[in-house]
């Protein structure tokens, strides 16, 4: 039970691969890294004596099955829609499976088969989803064990730029999938407040942000996630009157992003005419009715902003009023915006990213209302060794080790909400600097 197959050697694979290689060096065993790009796989192995690389086109069924059948545990770092191919083979050849992706309905349907074969298929074993589940469940279970009655659960997370690398007016750079950042929040956010369901449509999501204080770091903007109600059952908090999951950004970001939403720049549903011929300046003009004044003046007017407001300065900094060609063919507004931001929000080689995660739980115990706030802040080292890639990859590596060590009795398709998983994973993560600081206050 010591042969690990890691499928996918992309940029975010290093932390998981290195953790598994180190463990193999100390305890025996082999780690195979398979990728459609064999040089990339070889680079990740970096001549480690316990590692080997393999060329794999995951759509080639025989190659995939052959490789999976010769290992004990499979880690899939593939795009989410490809996990099911791997999972089906894992059922057939009786292998454990670990991923960092959201568990799909199709994947959950394999639950009985996995359980009958005493296999563990662990999904959502990254940062968010992953560390959020584990750290939240540890807090919730602790309070419930003490006999506390939980009345509010609010959970915040943000992938940000560290203050020392923050050199632009948006106070933001891309540390993860740019497309997801541009399309974030589309749909309707749902949460629960004072026992009532609440809805925020996308068109006012970034306007209706609220402020969250992160101890030692200051205030951040938070906007509600679409899915606050999603984990109510699995967290065991079905009945609680307050539940919210939200995303953190530096103050000022949400108001400026709201301007992009109001103009219409995050829409991915139709192409802009002549996007290969017009300038950003002309593009902005296309959203404004004809009138007097410059495009920038009319835009400020439309947005209800002063011409030199923070929001207008952020738009100006992006180059939205420049007479420079867009030079893209048949592109949607969202794609043009993504392309522009990729250039403006690119990490420099020495930039450090920063992850913030914070849970706020209110509960009643012995007729006293209490609030516990648990926060984790972690910074990366540079453009390549980001906190983001570490925190996505490490939990999977650690969980693989737990399987090898025989510490896992759970079977079937799961996400990491059980004590036998979150306790040892969070303990091991602390050695890598992932430390949640808690403070508790009594509420009047």
């Amino acid at each position: 039970m010591k042969n690990i197959l890691i499928i996918g050697a992309g940029r975010s694979a290093s932390a998981c691969i290195n953790y598994c290689l180190n463990h193999a060096a100390e305890n025996g065993g082999f780690v195979t890294v398979a990728d459609a790009n064999p040089e990339q796989a070889q680079k990740r192995i970096n001549n480690h004596p316990n590692g080997r690389s393999a060329w794999l086109d995951v759509n080639k069924s025989n190659d995939r099955k052959d490789l999976i059948s010769r290992h004990d545990i499979v880690v899939s770092l593939l795009p989410a829609h490809l996990h099911l191919l791997v999972a089906t083979d894992c059922i057939k050849y009786q292998k454990h499976l670990v991923t960092a992706s959201y568990v799909s309905k199709e994947m959950y349907r394999l639950g009985d088969e996995a359980r009958n074969a005493s296999l563990i298929f662990m999904g959502e074993m990254g940062l968010d989803p992953g560390i959020d589940h584990m750290s939240a469940m540890k807090l919730l279970d602790n309070i419930r064990d003490k006999g506390g009655n939980i009345t509010a659960f609010r959970s915040y997370a943000g992938g940000l730029i560290a203050p020392e690398s923050d050199d632009n007016p948006w106070h933001y750079k891309f540390t993860w999938n740019p497309r997801n950042v541009v399309l974030a929040g589309q749909g309707t956010a749902q949460y629960m407040e004072n026992g009532k369901y609440k809805y925020i449509p996308y068109s006012r999501l970034f306007k209706e942000h609220h402020s969250v204080d992160v101890p030692g770091m200051g205030p951040y903007d938070a906007y509600a996630n679409r899915d606050s109600l999603l984990y109510r059952e699995i967290y065991g908090v079905e009945g609680i009157p307050n539940i919210l999951r939200a995303t953190l950004r530096f103050p000022g970001f949400c108001d400026a992003w709201n301007a992009l939403v109001q103009i219409g720049l995050t829409d991915g549903s139709y192409p802009i005419h002549d996007a290969d011929k017009i300038t950003y300046h002309e593009w902005m003009n296309a959203y404004l009715p004809a009138g007097n004044g410059s495009v920038k003046e009319r835009m400020a007017d439309f947005l209800g902003e002063k011409i030199d407001s923070d929001v207008m300065n952020k738009l100006e900094w992006l180059g939205l009023f420049r007479k420079k060609r867009i030079n893209m063919k048949q592109a949607t507004p969202a794609l043009i915006l993504e392309h522009l931001l990729l250039d403006k929000w690119k990490l420099s080689p020495k930039d450090k990213d920063m992850i913030i995660m914070q849970h706020e739980i209110e509960y009643e115990l012995d007729n006293q209302k209490k609030k516990v706030v648990s926060s984790m802040v972690m910074k990366g080292k540079d453009e390549n060794d980001t906190a983001m890639s570490r925190l996505v990859g490490l939990p999977m590596g650690i969980f693989v080790k737990l399987i090898i060590d025989g510490k896992i009795t759970t079977t079937g398709v799961n996400i990491p909400v059980m004590k036998e998983v979150y306790d040892p994973v969070l303990e091991e993560l602390e050695k890598y600097g992932v430390v949640f600081k808690e403070y508790e206050t009594e509420m009047s």
Copy 2:
């Protein structure tokens, strides 16, 4: 060539059926009305000596083919997605086809086959689309024939309630598909102004309405349609710098509808929790953050309205602040709103509806800028005999007559933009009160 098959005997079929029956009575021939509900078909025929009814489940291929093969011209009043079934049979049995629906890509692909068999498949032969195409093309062709250079084409249409039947603060009632009214405008409106493309996202479509004067009727609100650029080629106005198609509503409607959009009530993409248990009052509360004041007060505050403003009075009149149960299961906001409006905006038996259509064309001739405005206003008789159903049905009936009379040389899949179609159809429509009044001004 005198046997007509009309498939579909729904509410809007009368005008077309009656026109065809009258023509058959004068000129010989037979009209068969086929429907899944044979009593309904029989009712429409009303014992007319030249009519007969038939029972038809249109999905039963043999029955459908049998019926089609025994007629000369087919009129399909089926839901739009079913026309293709009928069209394929019409190719096989060499029958002409007429519909009032938008012509789909799949339908256009039958063009060569229809042309090779000397058949005419005429789509968009109703009111909008239909009379809009014909009346616009007549104006445009006239100006071009004179040698005029067209610089602006703006076209407006609205299905409204006649002033004498207008007894609610919205000045609107349903005279056509309620679902389409609730979902109208979703997406991004595109049009052209001063040679530049313009875009209005849905979230500000009803806010950015403009006023249009209809001669003899007064001002109306107009909001841009999604598809202003769609007919540029087929109208032969590709190069013109100004093109807009828009929908007319009584003044004040758009501002109030904008409030529904901003709250989030026109969203059909997710279900409201506990919609079977909560009241409209609680539903509105679900869109507002917690705060002081009544739901109505907080809503006014959120919308930036005074508590007794016209917009707030319209929302109040709808009953959105009433503590009355919604009583729907698993319903989306759009569905709940539609259900509420169906009750509030229902035509009374003696209510008259009103259709307004207006084209505004600017052109240059002999170094003089001119503007022609052409308007048509038509009112219905009562709840059943609406102007809407007449104007949708009559053009199809008239076109069937033109085919029988051998007046149509066009073949293939078409929409009514050619002179040999629009001239006689518009002339015949005038006998039914469909009169466009034109006035022309010279612009400085």
